[in-house]
Amino acid sequence: MLKIENLHARVEGKDILKGLTLTVNRGEVHAIMGPNGAGKSTLGNVLSGREGYEVTAGSVTFEGRDLLALEPEGRAAAGVFLAFQYPVEIPGVNNTYFLRAALNAQRKQRGEAELDSMQFLKLVREKLKIMQISDELLHRAVNEGFSGGEKKRNEIFQMAVLEPKLAILDETDSGLDIDALKQVAQGVNALRSPDRSFLVITHYQRLLDYIEPDFVHVLADGRIVESGDKTLALKLEEYGYAWVNDRDPALANEARA
């Protein structure tokens, strides 16, 4: 489904990703872990097409298409969803209106019929149940005045409505207390399906207690240095990221250089 090969990316003249290779198959949940500055958020931003991220080498194919050639909206329509680390507040834009416009814009790009307000409302009601979100949030402006937990839940709720094929969760656990974290994880788990893949980017193992990954990768200095199953996350939790460096002195030297 998603194939990243030898990806190099640069931000503000600085090389951040330095040859990242990763394959995600349909229905798999991959966790990307790594210390601060490893390039975790850059990966999410490059995949979703944010401006200011320059890909200098490598390729990303999504269902056989060159993902990097698409505009952000084209990537969304293709089925890629980024749950933001810092969801943006948009005063004056109603949450429901925004979500319907987004869904219909995606459907239009895919050549599907747009949903009228009744059909959309029905869909929203179904998804609200899954996410256990009060519909009061829907009537407010997008993320405006939302608490940290509400913002993250709103991200997952958007994901539920937009039904992407690949969801990228960019440090969705950051800034959440344990209850909010559980709620968000619950929402994500409800959306797991054999047709939907996840890329869960996180600094801490904590989130992975609730969203159980099929694979765990360690990102350090712009590339994946270690891959394994969920037990890898536990090792990282126990020994810290230094452990990866210790196991790979060559890399450690390079990182120090």
């Binding site: 505009e71 969304a76 969803f81 507040e89 925004f98 416009a101 995606q106």
Partner: protein
Amino acid sequence: MSQSPASVPFIDALREAGDLRLPGSGLAWLDAARRENLEAFIAAGLPDTRAEAWKYTALRALGQRRFALGDAAAAAHPVDAHALKLPGIDGPRLVFVNGVFRADLSRLEALPPGLSLQPLSRVLENDPEPLRFALSRHYREAGDVFARLNAALAGDGVVLRVAPGVRVNKPVHLCFAGTPGRADVAWHLRNVIELGEGAELDLVEHHLATAQHKHLGTLVGEIVLRDGAKLQHALLQKAAEDSTLIRRGSLYLGAKSQAMLHVLELGGALVRHDLHAELRGDQARLDTRGVFVLHGRQHVDTQLSIRHQALNTASESIWRGVADERARGVFRGAIVVAEGADGSDASLNNKNLLLSAQAEIDTKPELEIYADEVKAAHGATVGQLDERALFYLRSRGLPNAEARALLTAAFCRAVFAALPNETLRDHFSDALLAHLPS
């Protein structure tokens, strides 16, 4: 003062016009006032940008143009009455086409009791004396240059009075339509509006074009609110893209009177809107809301001046400007709290959005306070669309143009939230959305 009048075609056309037969001609006081104002206008010429009031709005190009003094054929231009209609507005209507009153398009039969609504030309014919004070005014400031021209040449307009204590139950629709003629026409209209003590009125002022033209229109209006009167004034300006429209409104508020103004400026190549409001009676309240959305090479200049002159008066002004392509917006919001106007509460908020690197908006809030225990706040900003918000919307699937339009509309939205006529409010929103670049 700087241009030699002899070299300005705009002025030459006036000088060569000779004797004008206008409604009311023959009334000695009116003839004298018109003549004096015309002479003063010709002598002074068009101000240049060294005049503070015209600092950001150059009139040189206008000065190079010649306009026909009125449109003799205006009464015969076919205009589809349906095009004048506004949703939610089905009350009395007064229509001018190229500055000429059109009884055939107006709706003046069966006026609600207590409402008097007539074209100025008819009042000048039948009973001019009550207008003597309003029409004999002299204008001296550089900012008043077009008021002077208007005083010299206006032969028609709106005379509207609401009797004391009367609540007019239907909105009154004032419609100013432009339509192509044989030449570029200059038209001048003068409005005199008065709400008696405790009277209430909804007023909708509507500028539109049936087709493209390059006319110049000036509209000078005076609105007097006696004690306890209440006015809702909504203005939809969709003049022709190449037209010039100059409006000057004076608003006088008596004790405990309330006025609320909503302005949506969309049309015109060169547009100037001066609003001078005086809160003259204790506890008077004025709310102004406005948006301009500009593109191409449009130039829209709004000059708001609010004077608090009495105890415990309040004014709140919220204005938004959006300029795309090579458009230029100007906003000046000046609030004066005069000596003795203790307990006044004044706020002014002006935010502007530039959608292109070539667009420009100049904003200048001014606040002068000479009274005690005054609450005053003002702020003005000029910025661009929030790139983070734009990316957020696009990452959810909204195409770039749609995302930009959505954010721009959101930027303007708060301005019309308090417009009480819901149908009209929706229409304003739709008109604004339709005007946004996509």
